[in-house]
Symmetry: C2
Subunit: 409 residues, 2 copies
């Protein structure tokens, strides 16, 4: 069902010097399926993260934040599918700590040097024993070229694995960025969550890395929406091993930072878009761009109001150029002083709305033509400023209801 999305070929994924990946079939929830991943980082690697804002954040998110804020350098990331370890209270924290300790023992490091990520059923206890028993298999599997396999190991209801590599030249040296992600719905607490790990061999200072991961997230994972929900476990980690031989990037204003940011953001955006392309029941991939806003934030708000409207999403599913639904969503975005008579809308190459009303030259036939393809671009102009924002989303189909209604039965 995924919209124009193919699984990455192992040979297209570039290794990152200083990063090794090991996978196991630990039988966490289902037998004989890759469900456990350890990412080992060589000494000197730096890590920064962006996490869910959901107040019911899961135990692994709490520990990630704690360990990243601590003094200990991060030596490993451990990802399990099957159980999210969310809504599990104190016991959940203890369980996540136990998994970190078990990983740490393999590396002869303290537990606080391990970042745990979990995705799967929520409000069920983490099967610490089964995870601990699977860890040696991960450890002996560690290799730099296991990115494709790692992308498969973190899938839940994803139908296609998500991974991509990009390179940049910084200071005359080639720098590589490789990332993996999993999604399905933006939230689906039984068996999902958005998780992504992106690694680069670039040499980046800790402050610049923290800035970079937020900037990349804003232009990628924070700009997608499948159903408007945010999971308890959403996590993006950015690893920089520093093995590339360019001078360290410390300031976010430098040309070198910009070159790296471009590569990291592109990897993040491709992964984020892959999550939408593989959204539950998705049959269309929709890019919504809002221009001429007063602020970037209000542009994003309008774009998300369109992207999250069930009526707009069902109209996309039906390939129905239902202008009224788009206009109503714009009017509903909470911009109190929006002048409706300045708003314009284009679908693909067709101007459908100008000055807040149906465009003079617009015909229903033109509208239907541009709504047919699997990829649709919506462009809104607000006529009140110079700012812009883009959001990517998918449609709402019978299968979305089917997947989410039948899921546990």
């Amino acid at each position: 069902m995924a919209v124009n999305l193919e699984a990455p070929r192992a040979e297209d994924l570039l290794t990152i010097s200083g990063v090794r990946l090991g996978i196991a079939r630990a039988g966490i929830r289902k037998p004989n399926r890759k469900d456990l991943l350890v990412v080992a980082l060589e000494d000197g690697a730096r890590v920064a993260g962006v996490f869910t804002r959901n107040r019911f954040c899961a135990a692994p998110v709490v520990l990630c934040r704690e360990h990243l804020a601590g003094k200990e350098p991060i030596r490993a990331i451990v990802v399990n599918t099957g159980v999210a370890n969310a809504g599990t209270g104190e016991q959940g924290l203890e369980d996540a700590r136990a998994v970190c300790a078990a990983v740490a023992r393999l590396f002869d490091a303290p537990a606080s040097s391990v970042l745990p990520l979990s995705t799967g059923v929520i409000m069920e206890p983490l099967p610490v024993e089964r995870i601990a028993r699977g860890l040696p298999e991960c450890f002996s599997d560690l290799a730099p070229d296991h990115w494709a396999s790692a992308a498969e190991a973190i899938m839940t209801t994803d139908t296609v694995a998500k991974a991509v590599s990009r390179q940049a030249v910084i200071d005359g040296r080639t720098v590589t960025v490789t990332g993996i992600a999993k999604g399905a719905g933006m939230i689906e607490p039984n068996m999902a969550t958005m998780l992504a790990v992106i690694a680069t061999d670039a040499n980046v200072g800790q402050d610049a890395l923290r800035y970079l991961v937020r900037e990349a997230a804003d232009a990628s994972f924070n700009a997608i929406t499948v159903d408007g929900d945010t999971s308890t476990n959403d996590t993006l980690l950015l690893v920089a091993t520093g093995h590339a031989a360019h001078a360290q990037i410390v300031g976010e204003g430098t040309a070198e930072f910009g070159q790296l940011a471009q590569a990291v953001t592109e990897v993040a955006r491709i992964l984020a878009q892959a999550i939408v392309r593989d959204g539950e029941g998705a049959t269309k991939f929709i890019t919504i761009t809002v221009d001429e806003g007063e602020t970037r934030e209000e542009c994003a708000r309008v774009a998300k109001a369109i992207a999250n409207s069930p009526l707009v999403k069902t109209a996309f599913f039906a390939s129905d150029p239902n202008l009224g639904r788009i206009l109503a969503a714009i009017g509903n975005a909470g911009i109190a002083d929006l002048d409706a008579s300045r708003v314009g809308v284009r679908l693909g190459d067709v101007t459908v709305v100008e000055e807040g009303g149906r465009a003079a030259a617009y015909t229903e036939a033109d509208g239907q033509r541009v709504m047919k393809p699997a990829e649709i671009a919506v462009r809104v102009t607000l006529g009140r400023g110079d700012e812009s924002a883009s959001v990517w989303t998918c449609d709402f189909s019978y299968d979305y209801v089917k997947i989410n209604a039948d899921y546990r039965s």
Copy 2:
């Protein structure tokens, strides 16, 4: 498909002294169907209204606001279905004015004494000629006991007409309140919108009436959600003819105001709930109550976050006690300092979450039992204050997608 909702019987609807209703088949969009309603008000009636906050508000909403703010007493309300006269710019305003003028001629009154309401396809011109030709039929049909017929005349994709009456005793006199409404989706710009007209023979001052309509709306139409959208045309009008022989109610703090407010709010709530029961594709009617909040507003925010989550709504459709989705929606409601470990959730008579985690005594069998019925109560406790709010919603079914995807094809 409507959930526990029956059409009102004409004999159960009480007349309001000073109000007459006339219906016509004007062929506005489809032939031979009631599609035009005129409500005639005797001299001395007062009217107050609450309108959509959508920035793309329709021409009739603009005129209603204008005429209510003017000096002229309101003599008539005219409601057409078929065409919403929204997204129609200057021409739309001229068309709505022309309809008001045509109605006003029948009453020998100025156009500004008429309030126009429209619902139907948006971005299409209002067929003023057809409406004007239908008006004499409405005029000759005017009678105090045509409430049931009026409720039918304003239906679009509603499957059941919505009308109800209540009485109160104020100052020793019986006062009557009768209302009609139409809904379907909260928004459905092709053929819907929320419209309601409630009339009472109570004697109420203009300021108290304005206060009353807002209070009643907050506890009814503003507390329902089918799909989180707000239409371009949403309108609630409250008419008070003053024919009841009690002393005029002028202050909102009085016992008499409270008695009237209770009856009006009950009528408004029954109509609002009827809109949810008849929501597009609805198979369940869900009451979400949030207690122990710091403010009423944050309680309503949490309730709406649950009510509008597509994942929660599909779980209700599947009768799946999917606690994780409810918790995630609560955590997602934007209360930055919510202490998740104090949150509790009950489904019907079953405690499912306590202290932010699965309740010790909870069993999946209990959860499934309470999710089965067509009416489900969700009660959330936030553990941070004394305020409460309730919201009513319906589930998200295959038919929601079907109705909204197939609609124009």
